[in-house]
């Protein structure tokens, strides 16, 4: 069918994306980012540097634009009708809103895990192998290797290794979410975005995901949205506080949670507001 040539094209296009790796510690540079949904001004001049191989947590009350911000980083907003974006997001020296950017290739570099676990109605194996297969990998043993490695990295290998051919939807919510993480890692991204990945999970599954995030930051840049202050404090190295589309404050998590510069931040964190 027609997907073969398309696949080929993208596979090559991915290599064409310039990725000049300068040894800076900054993974994503966001400058003057504005997002509008038809009439809603959802993000207002957000400027923020996201550190490499660290966890950045985004906090703030509901509707303040955290998810919107996260989706600008892999251009998932492109799929929303009526969304308009201004400003620049620079990843490894390339503005991902530049005219020559291959969005498909970008999304392989910037993976995403959603709030509601959304495995495909396929087997566990096929879920994790989905991304690699898109890139044209057909070799069975190669796929098996990738699947195993990704599931191990996502701390779910032991739980599912005997039932890789079972539907992913038969797993528990927490297991499904880790399958989704494995699926994202299987594409070998550099950055992983997580939108409230544990909000629908029980405390034990949440603890597992947090542990996992801790492990993952050795190799990946992680940006996580969370409503849970303790979670932000536990897992993140940096924290950004959003309010009404503005990035109110951003800095090291330790500082934000102990001596924030802004009164609003302190009020939100201590629960006096929000």
């Amino acid at each position: 069918m027609m997907n073969v040539p398309v696949e080929e094209k993208i596979f090559h296009a991915q290599k064409a994306v310039p990725m000049d790796k300068h040894n800076s510690s900054i993974s994503i540079k966001v400058k003057d980012l504005n997002v509008y949904y038809s009439s809603v001004h959802a993000l207002k001049s957000v400027t923020l540097d996201i550190q490499k191989k660290a966890v950045t947590a985004l906090i703030g009350p509901s509707g303040c634009g955290k998810s919107t911000f996260l989706r600008t980083l892999n251009r998932m907003n492109d799929t929303l009708p009526g969304a308009r974006i201004e400003g620049s997001v620079i990843i490894d020296g390339v503005n991902i809103y530049g005219s020559e950017i291959n969005v498909v290739a970008l999304r392989r570099i910037v993976g995403m895990v959603f709030q509601k676990s959304n495995p495909f109605p396929k087997t566990i194996f096929d879920n994790v192998a989905y991304g690699p297969r898109l890139q044209g990998i057909k070799n069975k043993s190669m796929l098996e290797g990738i699947v195993e490695e990704s599931l191990k990295k996502s701390a779910i290998w032991d739980e599912v290794k005997d039932r890789l051919e079972k539907p992913a939807l038969e797993l528990s919510g927490g297991q499904q979410q880790r399958i989704c993480i494995a699926r994202a890692l299987a594409v070998n991204p550099e950055i992983v975005l997580m939108d409230e990945p544990a909000s629908a999970l029980d405390p034990i599954s949440t603890a597992k995901i947090e542990e996992l995030i801790h492990e993952l930051k050795k190799n990946y840049t992680i940006v996580i949205v969370t409503h849970n202050m303790q979670q932000a404090a536990r897992v993140s190295d940096f924290t950004g506080y959003f309010y009404l589309g503005l990035l109110v404050e951003h800095g090291e998590t330790k500082k934000i949670f102990t001596t924030p510069d802004k009164k609003e931040t302190e009020d939100y964190i201590t629960g006096r507001f929000g």
Binding site: M1, M2, N3, V6, E7, I10, N74, M76, T79, V104, A105, R107, R108, G111, M112, F114, K116, N118, P119, F120, P121, K122, Y130, G131, R133, L134, Q135, P167, L169, C180, R183, A184, V187
Partner: protein, 316 residues
């Protein structure tokens, strides 16, 4: 009684609400009652066939042939004859020779069109295409039949050099015009039911739009699409006017798509008007109707089962 007990034991139902609820319930089960009644009636009348006709006669009949001095097993439908022959084999052949190609044609185009409408077409294109489809669905089948008979049959004959001008294929083309909008609508619905989260997951893994359609959306909707095809097939089996006009109505035992055929439906429509009520012939026609009804009923059940399977698979 205290206030609280009074409150706790208060009836929530107003008498009028009770009445409305019952009325809705009755209209709800009315369809079940009607179906059961039709079923019962068809079968009761159809079974009376076997008063004078043996079940084997429905396949074929041994008839003495004076020219051959032999008994010959005749697999044919000749209801008005000195020795009536009621083999349903040619009728079943005819029905399938029309319904099957019609379903194939309308599925190929219908699934394509459904995918286009749900996944690719802009809102504006969709807003023009959908009313057009409804228009197509609203064309009386006698008009389609006439078109097939008067125009398309000639085209088909010129193109394929067929022996018969009116044949199963011409009928199938006409019937596919009826099943096409049904299949498109059902396929589109099945695709739209696929949650946005699944598409997002695919895009986020670096899939293109086409990859997302072929590897996520269509596979997730495959049960719904199969159900659409099954329902289309059921509808094709039941179509009457078009086949009556366009297939030539010769009750031949054949597997040739370009031969004239007579379907079960056309047979009933053509003969029911002249048959003597309560005669053997009359009961056989009912039996044919009952068989047809059973086939479409089974197809509908199958598609229902298939749709439920999809719901379960997607946890919807």
């Amino acid at each position: 009684m205290t206030d609280i007990t009074q409150e706790l034991t208060r009836k929530n139902h107003h008498p009028a609400e009770w009445l409305i609820e019952k009325a809705l319930f009755i209209s709800g089960i009315a369809s079940i009652v009607f179906i059961s009644l039709i079923f019962l009636f068809l079968f009761k009348e159809g079974m009376l066939t076997f008063k004078s006709v043996s079940p084997l006669d429905l396949i074929g009949k041994w008839v003495y042939d004076p020219y051959d001095e032999k008994n010959i097993f005749k697999v044919m439908w000749q209801s008005v004859s000195e020795v009536p022959k009621y083999s349903i084999v040619p009728l079943v052949c005819g029905s399938f020779l029309v319904a099957f190609p019609a379903t194939v044609i309308s599925s190929v185009f219908g699934i394509g069109c459904g995918i286009y409408l749900s996944e690719i077409a802009s809102a504006r294109v969709r807003e023009t295409l959908k009313p057009t489809l409804e228009l197509l669905a609203g064309i009386p089948s006698v008009v389609i039949g006439f078109l097939m008979l008067a125009v398309v049959a000639t085209f088909v004959q010129d193109l394929f050099h067929t022996k018969f001008r009116l044949n199963a294929f011409v009928g199938a083309l006409g019937v596919s015009l009826v099943t096409f909008p049904i299949i498109v609508t059902l396929v589109e619905e099945a695709l739209r039911a696929i949650p946005k989260e699944l598409r997002d997951a695919s895009y986020a893994l670096g899939a293109t739009k086409w990859q997302t359609i072929w590897k996520t959306v269509v596979p997730a909707a495959v049960s719904g699409i199969s159900a659409a095809v099954l329902l289309g097939f059921g509808r094709a089996l039941g179509e009457t006017m078009i086949v009556l006009m366009a297939t030539g109505n010769a009750a031949l035992v054949t597997l040739d798509m370009f031969s004239s055929v007579r379907t079960m439906t056309a047979n009933i429509a053509a003969e029911m008007g002249e048959v003597v009520q309560g005669s053997e012939h009359y009961y056989v026609l009912f039996l044919v109707g009952a068989i047809l009804f059973t086939m479409t009923f089974v197809l509908n059940i199958c598609s229902e089962v298939v749709i439920n399977k999809m719901r379960r698979k997607l946890r919807m």
